[in-house]
Symmetry: D2
Subunit: 273 residues, 4 copies
């Protein structure tokens, strides 16, 4: 468990393995802990850096503040400076994928490869209104209410139905967390921080080869928006996971690991004639 | 505005046009009024019957009762007897599509054609948990909360984003309704009534030609479940609407009308060699 | 069997039923006869007009000539004049859908509704090269060769495999035709006539409500091209048939009939708030 | 350039890099040379083995013989024995993917991981008839005819249209080869060898984790058949490449390389609660 300080705030991160640095960016409800099952495979090939964004995991709580995702973008920059890293590969999912894309657009020289799962280039007003509902649900302080409002739509119906026991255990783990007012306030701030997200004008600044991974049953990140994202990327590649939803890494952990390792390690092959 | 009585309860319906009877079955939050824009086109060709299920529109409120969708199935039966109709074509969407399918499986001789939009043959446990969240949201009596929890996911992100003004007007119409405790209690009972829905064992009893209409951005009725439904139907046909969501009839009203009229009027054409 | 003459050429057509005129435009290998199974259902509602284009069915053979699809567009114009029809609804599939779209773009006032199946707004160079292979295959005068080159790709693998007997009977019917040098020469001219087809600059001239029907296993009309077509149409609607291929009308005859009848009869419904 | 002999026949192969052996299996028209652009990236991580099947590249020509794909399955077995390899990872595309699947089903202990692109578990009668057309086309000895019959359908219309110059150069390379009677006879035998391919009864014998990669515009390997394949695999994972066709490795070489490297290197991650 490592920490560094920036602007008087403690930031938590983890570093595993050696060699080429790969930063993993959390989805909104996640923390560095969420990635534990993936570290053994990823750290065989990379120095795996996990970072808790502001208001996530063990990092500083921004009680009473309002902010945008740009605060997390700048956090990545400070984090890399703290580690004396000039360049990094970034993997992100959902909220983390958006921060990763925004970082790569703002600091293109600092990113050599990018893999984003279930991510868009802007917050659709549709999603914004869904987020508003999540916040209202959190304000009830009823953990099960928050669970039922947020979790089912994060998973594909295919996974949810075929892993009911898994989901029930997950619910048991999440209920106390989702009943914690401090956690719910963090979620509210994080949700609000994403409302204004829109990097469409800057997409072509991203120079790193970028893999966009969509899940066919993702009911939070509109696939049409992901298609539009890929089309704007200078070096974008696109892949779809059938039968998976927004929580693609939990639903298809082996595929998740494979896609990350493969895209980061492969040379950018072309076939010329 | 017409009424009939059954078991001491008043049931509301509307009848427009002449000729072959076609019954329209409401989605869960809908009422006979929701179909007004469709009546002029449909009633050129059919006697259009609109029915408020129990706890919908102007029909009896079942305060304090618990029931399953079978109560609505039986209501259709009584309604047809009231009108002295031996056979009817049925069109249903979502909750109404499920009641229609259940009716056609229970009383196959009474249905000559069936068109269901955004409907499944059972309630996926995933959807059940989403419904539980809706109920919790309703219990807050906060109309906007109920709106944000239920409405965005009913519309495709494509429609929602491209019809923001339409959605805002819709929100203005719905907020007072969604703030009405009686309405929210009705919604709770209706939502619960669908939890045990499962007609998979009876699907092959349906003998009427049946058109299943799926919307590609329907985030409430899993498309895999709709595909499974079609495969079990003896005379099922399947069609998909791209760029539409669960509220397909509002998002694509012209297509909705076309599909209904066409499937009900066409002879069951085959191409033999 | 009816004929009329234009520029010294005999043109064959059929007229069934009364009332509103609906013109059916053949795919490239089809003729008025191909539609016989559809006439009983369609002619209940419309005056169904079937027309053999130049080099099709019983119409004039343009031996030794080269031409573009515009010759067929003009043929429709003359045909409507012959029948004293100012306006018509048009239904077309593949080659016939393209002629229909081109006609509606060139003479927008003469078309009140349009339904096109498996049609694009231009001939993709990919399809052009496939067509060149068809022509080479025809030049061998080996009917089975022409059959194997053209027919399997016209049907979805799903239909082909599940209707093997049907396909074998179809093959028996087609082999003598596909061994006929005159027929093969007609096919060559018709195929070449489509090579330069490109109405993309004129799509917005089409003012008729237009239903674009795509089949998900259509391996000749790229679905991306059909999506692009719909997006350019001022009043376009889009629907997809799962499990069907390029010969959608043979594979899903009931759906074909339903879609045509419904889209032509429905009022252009909107849902305003 | 390496060779070994089996049953009096010379077999050609290439070996690049060190470490864990990965065998690449050619599609029907391919040879070891087709993979040259991929070797630099793959051989950084594996000992890359490329093998010309019978009637491919520099391997023995089976003039006058008829055989099934099982002859290639046995060839892999002999090849591994020749190299003293007990276990291998296999990557195959199309014909090569089918041989790989058949090998893994027949000799499950010899395969530790499997990646198949654009492959099915049996030859659909639809594809069989398409193959018959290819053979007839080859018998004309007209290279351009063979090109037009086989090549466009191998590429997605999206790629073909956006890489017209690439395709023209490819055509120039292929025309002399496709005009060579010996090559065309080889293709005929290889095509016929796949007609009886059907390992559906044996799929569950495959114990290696298997990645099935489908391309959404693959017009030769029905996607429904690939879905059925995945569902039968004990440890199957599925991924789809949008905008690519049957020649996925040429159309998306960077993705191809990434998927192979990632799936072979990743630990089989699970996420347990």
């Amino acid at each position: 468990m490592s920490f560094f300080e920036t602007q008087g705030k403690q930031i938590h991160y983890e570093s595993d393995g050696k060699g080429r640095p790969v930063l993993i960016c959390n989805g909104i409800m996640m923390s560095t802990k969420s990635w534990i099952p993936f570290v053994p495979s990823l750290s065989e090939h990379f120095r795996v850096l996990r970072l808790d964004f502001y208001d996530q995991g063990e990092s500083a709580i921004l009680e009473g503040e309002t902010y945008t995702q740009d605060i997390q973008v700048e956090l990545i920059k400070v984090f890399l400076e703290h580690l004396n890293l000039e360049k990094v590969s970034i993997v992100g999912i959902s909220y983390g994928g958006e921060v990763a894309l925004a970082f790569a657009a703002k600091y293109p020289q600092k990113v050599d490869r990018l893999v984003v799962f279930n991510s868009c280039s802007y917050t659709n007003p549709w999603l914004k209104d869904i987020g508003r509902g999540w916040i209202k649900s959190g304000k009830t302080r009823d953990g099960q209410h928050y669970y039922q409002t947020t979790i089912p739509v994060i998973y594909s119906p295919t996974f949810y139905e075929s892993h009911l026991d898994w989901m029930k255990r997950r619910e048991a783990v999440l209920l106390p967390i989702f009943s914690n007012p401090e956690f719910l306030d963090r979620m509210e701030r994080l949700t609000l921080s994403a409302e204004s997200y829109d990097i469409r004008p800057d997409l072509q600044k991203i120079i790193a080869p970028t893999l966009v991974v969509s899940a066919e049953e993702d009911y939070l990140t509109p696939i049409a928006n992901q298609e539009a994202l890929v089309k704007e990327l200078v070096r974008g590649e696109w892949i779809k996971i059938p039968g998976a939803g927004h929580a693609s890494m939990y639903e298809k952990p082996y595929l998740f690991t494979s896609l990350v390792i493969g895209f980061l390690l492969a040379k950018e092959t072309t076939y010329t004639i």
